[in-house]
Amino acid sequence: MRHTISVLVENKFGVLSRVSGLFSGRGYNIESLSVGETIDPQISIMTIVTSGDDWVIEQITKQLNKLIDVIKVVDLTEFDHVQREMILIKVAPKRENKVEVLRLAEIFRGRVLDSSPQTFTIEVTGEEKKIAAFIELMKPMGIKEFVRTGTVAMAREISKKK
């Protein structure tokens, strides 16, 4: 099963490689990972999307906790939470599809960030499924490239453990 794990770490040199090294060294899979500073610049937060059965996920959270620079680990999958990902996607539609691309972007509440005679670069934000759906719809339009941020997630303020 897929899990979204939030990891609070010391904002120190080498912490990212400790975390990624733990995953690679023990054969765990990272589907996405995003890192950024928190309100306290000495602390960073990582959002890791990974998958595995209960045994694997238990080991992952324990192993993360064991790292000296890790302050806190929360498996958000156990809680109500919100999560978002952003994609920048550059499409080069045929002339007859240009309007369709813009219409689809609007349906997905996307924004055109850049356009050229041949291409549109569109920003879409949403849960992973929404991003995946948008990619599917853009495929026949002619995707030139895209880049994704990976998931960021947060527990809801009024959040019960599932």
Binding site: F13, S17, G21, W55, E58, K62, Q63, N65, K66, I68
Partner: protein
Amino acid sequence: MKMSGAEIVVECLKREGVKHIFGYPGGVILNIFDLLYDDKDLKLILTRHEQGAVHAADGYARVTGRPGVVLVTSGPGATNTVTGLATASMDSIPLVVLTGQVPTVLIGNDAFQEADIVGISRPCTKYNILSKDVKNLSKEIREAFYIARTGRPGPVLIDLPKDVTSGKTDFVWPEQVSIRSYNPTYEGNKWMIEKAARAIAQSKKPLIIAGGGCILSDASEEVRELAEFSSIPVTMTMMGLGSFPGSHDLSLGMPGMHGTFYANKSIQNADLLIAIGMRFDDRVTGKIEAFAPHAKIIHIDIDPTSIRKNVSVDIPIVGDVKRILTVLNRVMKEEMKEQWSEVRKAWLKQVADWKHERPMTYTRSDEVIKPQFVVEKIYELTAGDAIITTEVGQNQMWAAQFYKYDKPRTWLSSGGLGTMGYGFPAALGAQMAAPDKLVIDIAGDGSIQMNIQELATAVIYKLPVKVAILNNRYLGMVRQWQELFFSERYSHTNLDVTPDFVALAEAYGAVGLRATKPSEVEPVLKEAFSIKRTVFMDFVVDWKEKVYPMVPAGASIDEMLFEEKEKPAEKKLKAVK
């Protein structure tokens, strides 16, 4: 007071109570070595290879329980420590390893003798750090010692760029250490401990498996109290040898791949396993699906990741083994008034029958020296009062099987990583830590050659370590696998040209002795033990001898091969292949 980084390092080591450092100098670490030149309180033991220095510090730590300290230079000096770090990491041994590094301005420039040792050693240390500012140095060293010895112990590496050790700052000694992201659990959950006590009370066929954690936590007394009070037999993993007296009536010796018949049989028939400070390594469990099929499992360990890593656990208790057992023993004694020896009578009888059915044994000989005979003789002549280190392979298993370890910290062996070349330098460290003890490295002719350069260290520091080489002219354990599982195709395990170990020892200024007949074993050992010098004993042993019992890798631990059943068992195995 302004001090240089090097002076801070030396001052911090002293304040941490360090007396001995194992190391090897080089360019960028000279700032520190220079201070050690005329220091009266810190003694540096110059090994002949950095790997030897780390193993020696490891042996020192296993004997004293305090972190072993290593000081080496950058680049190759640092990379040579890696096997030692991995060895200590797998066996949870506290070390503080200080490596030199090129000046911070050169880092990343592929400078001479530059290696990213922090990157290289990350997966085989408990923690490591590149020191970047002399102002933080005392705090970093203090934290390194703290991290190394607390929680589940392990090696910590600090990388010291040359400009950090030459830079100056005011010295501040942090009295307290507090790391917000590092708070090991020591006290076990009270409710879980009570639950464990009830499970023990209800169990008809309980078994204790004591691991290395019992030694690291200095919990031998508590293990013994639990076993004796509630009449529970005890098996000790290889790392746990010495945590419970091997000569005790309740001792079943070692379980697992080369464990005793009765230990494995007891595991497979127990209705409750009390696993203490051990981690269900594959060499202990064999085929995991078939392991302890009837048993509930109580698992006590300080490391939460050890719990439910390999086996499913019914009663997990995270915390320090000694503290948990202290509470558990109290609960047992206060609340449970049964006559345990009566309650367990049938089970203890069953276990005794298994012991009787297949004791640890081998075929004796008057013509050739059996390696097991040498180990037995060592046990007999020392009365078990020695520190034994081992290399890895057959020598290690025979040393585990045929010598009874009654006290903790008297058995030093690379369990997790299985590092050939560990035993001799570890013996030197052990001898530094315990100058009055008899320290014996039980070695093979293959392993001893992996750090044989340390003979120079032994001789120069007058360390009267005894090395008993069970010389079978083969990489015996690998050869054993080839014989059993690879149709006797002895690919590259024949060490045809082994050196003349007697002459070699003498070339270094040590004493060399040799025994080629069984009748010579005892005189050689006696002579070696009577000489206050480093002695190499070359025991020319039966090269055909194999380690039994044996559970083939991947088989259930009750599918054991025995010596006398060798032929049909081998056939069966070959047929399976």
